[in-house]
Amino acid sequence: MIYAAAAVALLTYGRGFARLRRRRPALAPAWAAWSFAAGVTVAAAALVSPLDGEADRSLTAHMGQHLLVGDVAPLLMAAALRGPLALFAVPAPFLRTMSRSPGVRRCLCFLLRKPVSLAVWCVVLYAWHSPLLYDAALTHPGVHAIEHASLLAASFLVWMQVMDSRRSPGGRAAFAGVVLLAGMPLAEVLLATKPIYSAYPGAADQAHAAVAMMAEQVATLGVAALLLLRSHVERVAAPAQPWRRAQRSEAQ
């Protein structure tokens, strides 16, 4: 099932990538293809490799799996869908249907608004980490699959926004920072409380899982926010401060 999904994803992207590369190679750089492939591989590997078995025994391993599927993979895939690639990656018939249907367009536009993606991500993250739903996912494979898919999708929405080079880096930095902070309380709770998931009774295990989550989120969202902020701060200033140029020319 996972292999099939991975294959479909790779093929769809591959075709779109090739099409764009034929016309405008500059807009379809090689690293994007590698990034997408890496993202799909990471997601698939996290789900089929021995990590999956380990995840049954240890919350830390399970958290690691979620972080790979739900954060690292989406960010790699989102990075690969910059600019026109995002459109080309979607097969033409789907694209035609979507563009003709105002409902679908409105829906997508709504989802891709920052507050909405943030809200969706928070809801998905916190809901699946509540003991009731988390334990349910562990007992029912179908629910578990939905869990992984929704984590990936919600994270993908967030990362698409962070990676969107058309929008101001400052806004994207702030967004990445807010997402990072929004996830911290969850890690805090896992660190502070006694074991809350019936399948993982170890307190140290839960603490390690919490630390792993914090570290990974800082490493991805934190670094993204930092780099975007760095790119933003001096770019925004120059045109908006004519007073400074005026002062300098006065001094001369």
Binding site: G170, L229, R230, V233, E234, V236, A237, Q241
Partner: protein, 620 residues
């Protein structure tokens, strides 16, 4: 001077005079405390702690906070934000509340022996061990409440001044104007637009602390009211862990009440002496955005070592380490900007600018020790040791203090319309203060790394040598402040040390040198003999029973003249004159509030102390 500036000038000047007077008193107390520890003018512990309480609040709030609060009005006026009518009223109210509050603290501590320390860690105020009464505790809490209220009214004055028309913000909405005042315009110029000029850098830290101190002080105000009620009605109480968190929720931002306005002074004066605008990238606004938020959510780094079982305090404490690290960012950015403003500039080195520069150096070094404190792994070792005392004296007395001193030398002439009495005297003062405070704090930090405890009226003997060394250092430091006072007084009187009285300047330098030599010589003579006394081999003339009595905690609660014990928690043994059997019984099995010591003392020890007490009770 324009009428608007005149109002700001007048109030900045009044705060300066009042706070400097308090410095004189609080500083003297500090010297007395340090010297008492070194056995030079030993003070009885009950009074030592009362002096310590007065010194802490007096120096920290009565001098440092009060002074920078006053300078803030002038900093704002210089930046184009003069005090308007309501600001003036609030400035006046703040002055009176602070003066009355500090006066109340002085009376309750130096007059009525309140010795709860400046943190009055709940519920210590209500367990005086016979040292102070409940009305004293009531009035102390009331006085601190007045001080807290003065901080709140100051915040209102500052925010009122900043958010007025001088801000030149395009929007009328308060949240947007607050964003502008916090420097968000440097990050998002269209959303936080100003016309025509952006907000001056010095305004940003003042806005930040104006907001933070209102948030931080209000819960403490509630706690203080509760403490006033509890002083008179002991049945009322609150959870001590909650009280501790509320205290530090205020206790951390109040440190920044000193730092942020000092930063505003640095942002204003350093560029002026460098002849250059502050060399700051827009990223500095990010530092302040982090700071204004983090300031009110890092309090638990003061209670890293408090984590009672079954409470979430430990998890809370862990969160606060990264947040505390985050708040250092604004200092790192500010120091980068300030040092680069000086770098390769035509910097005018006067007494004032030297003080400011040395203040930056001290801020940097105190920042390093602060980072150590912020790390739980290190705090485990240095918490409540003299390292902490070293750290905050470096930060408050130098990082902040030199900003105050620099601002005084820079602006006193403007305040009184006369030049400074003597530049060279001022330079002496600045350098002596810097060198000898660094020396003093280095001693503390070294003692602290060795495990030397803080808030000990009498330190364990192994720290004696270092404590002895501190005595001449503190005397010189105190003497140097006389130069400050003299310079201010002479300036106010319109005197001037002119060029042709070069002889007088030399005489002053010689006089200062002689004073220092006398201080050091005096210590060497007096301290030397004391050292000889304390390092003389402790002849085992004390009986075993007396040794048990004096080393196992009995002196803490009982009075026994022969042992030099003056404890008042338990019965006076000189009056009770217990028999041998009684002592054996009570010490072994306890009695009432006295716990049993049968686990801690061997039966031989119990017999020894019983024979000792029964023999010497009632004798000299």
């Amino acid at each position: 001077m324009s009428a608007e500036l005149e109002v700001s000038r007048r109030w900045a000047f009044r705060y300066l005079i009042a706070s400097t007077a308090i410095l004189g008193a609080a500083g003297t107390l500090g010297v007395l405390l340090r010297d008492s520890q070194a056995d030079v003018g030993r003070i009885d512990p009950g009074w030592w702690y009362a002096l310590m309480t007065a010194h802490g609040l007096g120096a920290f709030v009565g001098w440092a906070a009060f002074a920078v609060m006053g300078f803030s009005y002038w900093v704002l006026a210089q930046a184009g934000f003069p005090l308007r009518p309501w600001g003036r009223r609030l400035a006046a109210l703040t002055w009176w509340l602070m003066v009355l509050g500090v006066a109340g603290v002085v009376v309750t501590t130096l007059g009525f022996k309140f010795g709860g320390s400046w943190v009055f860690l709940y519920p210590l105020s209500f367990h005086a061990a016979g040292q102070w009464g409940r009305w004293t505790s009531f009035f102390f809490s009331f006085s601190v409440l007045l001080v807290g209220l003065s901080i709140v009214t100051w915040c209102l004055a500052v925010l009122h001044t900043i958010l007025g028309p001088a801000l030149h913000a395009v929007s009328d909405r308060i949240p947007n104007r607050i964003g502008v005042a916090l420097g968000f315009g440097y990050l998002s110029p269209t959303r936080f637009a100003t016309n025509p000029r952006p907000v001056p850098y010095a305004v940003i830290p003042l806005t930040a602390i104006g907001i933070d101190m209102i948030i931080a002080t209000l819960p403490l105000a509630v706690l203080l009211v509760e403490m006033m009620v509890q002083s008179l009605s002991p049945g009322v109480h609150v959870d001590p862990l909650l009280a501790k968190n509320v205290l530090w929720f205020f206790g951390h931002p109040v440190v920044y009440l000193l730092l942020f306005p000092a930063v505003a002074i640095y942002y204003t004066l350093i560029p002026r002496y460098a002849g250059r605008e502050l060399v700051a990238g827009n990223i500095i606004a990010v530092g302040w955005a982090i700071a204004v938020t983090a300031n009110v959510i890092v309090w638990a780094h003061h209670i890293y070592i408090d984590y009672p079982s079954g409470t979430p305090q430990a998890a809370l404490n862990v969160t606060m380490e990264p947040l505390t690290f985050a708040i250092t960012i604004v200092s790192a950015l500010s120091l980068y900007s300030l040092f680069f403003t000086v770098y390769r500039s035509d910097f005018q080195w006067t007494a004032a600018s030297t003080a400011l520069y040395l203040g930056l150096v001290s801020w940097l070094i105190a920042g390093f020790s602060g980072l150590v404190n912020a790390t739980i792994a290190f705090d485990q070792v240095i918490h409540n040791t003299l390292w902490i005392v070293g750290h905050f004296h470096q930060m408050a007395l130098l990082g902040i203090g030199l900003a105050i001193i620099g601002a005084t030398y820079a602006w006193l002439p403007d305040f009184v319309g006369r030049p400074l009495y003597s530049e060279s005297l001022a330079r002496w003062h600045v350098w002596l203060t810097f060198v000898f405070t660094m020396f003093n704090t280095a001693i503390w930090m070294y003692q602290g790394l060795l495990g030397g405890p803080r808030r000990f009226a009498v330190l364990p003997h192994r720290y004696d040598a270092a404590g002895q060394l501190a005595v001449p250092v503190t005397i010189v430091l105190a003497a140097a402040q006389l130069l400050f006072a003299f310079n201010i007084v002479q300036t106010l009187r319109g005197r001037r040390l002119t060029a042709d009285s070069f002889g007088t300047a030399r005489a002053i330098s010689v006089g200062v040198a002689v004073l220092l030599a006398a201080a050091v010589g005096g210590w060497a003579a007096v301290g030397g003999t004391r050292t000889a006394k304390t390092t003389a081999p402790a002849a085992p003339t004390a009986s075993p029973g007396k040794t048990v009595f004096t080393t196992k905690g009995c002196s803490a609660c009982h009075t026994l003249a022969n042992a030099g014990a003056t404890g008042t928690v338990g019965p006076n043994l000189d009056e009770k004159k217990p028999s041998f059997a009684t002592v054996v019984e009570f010490v072994t099995n306890g009695k009432g509030a006295m716990p049993p010591f049968k686990g801690q003392l061997s039966s031989a020890q119990i017999r020894d102390v019983a024979s000792y007490v029964s023999q010497v009770a009632g004798t000299r």
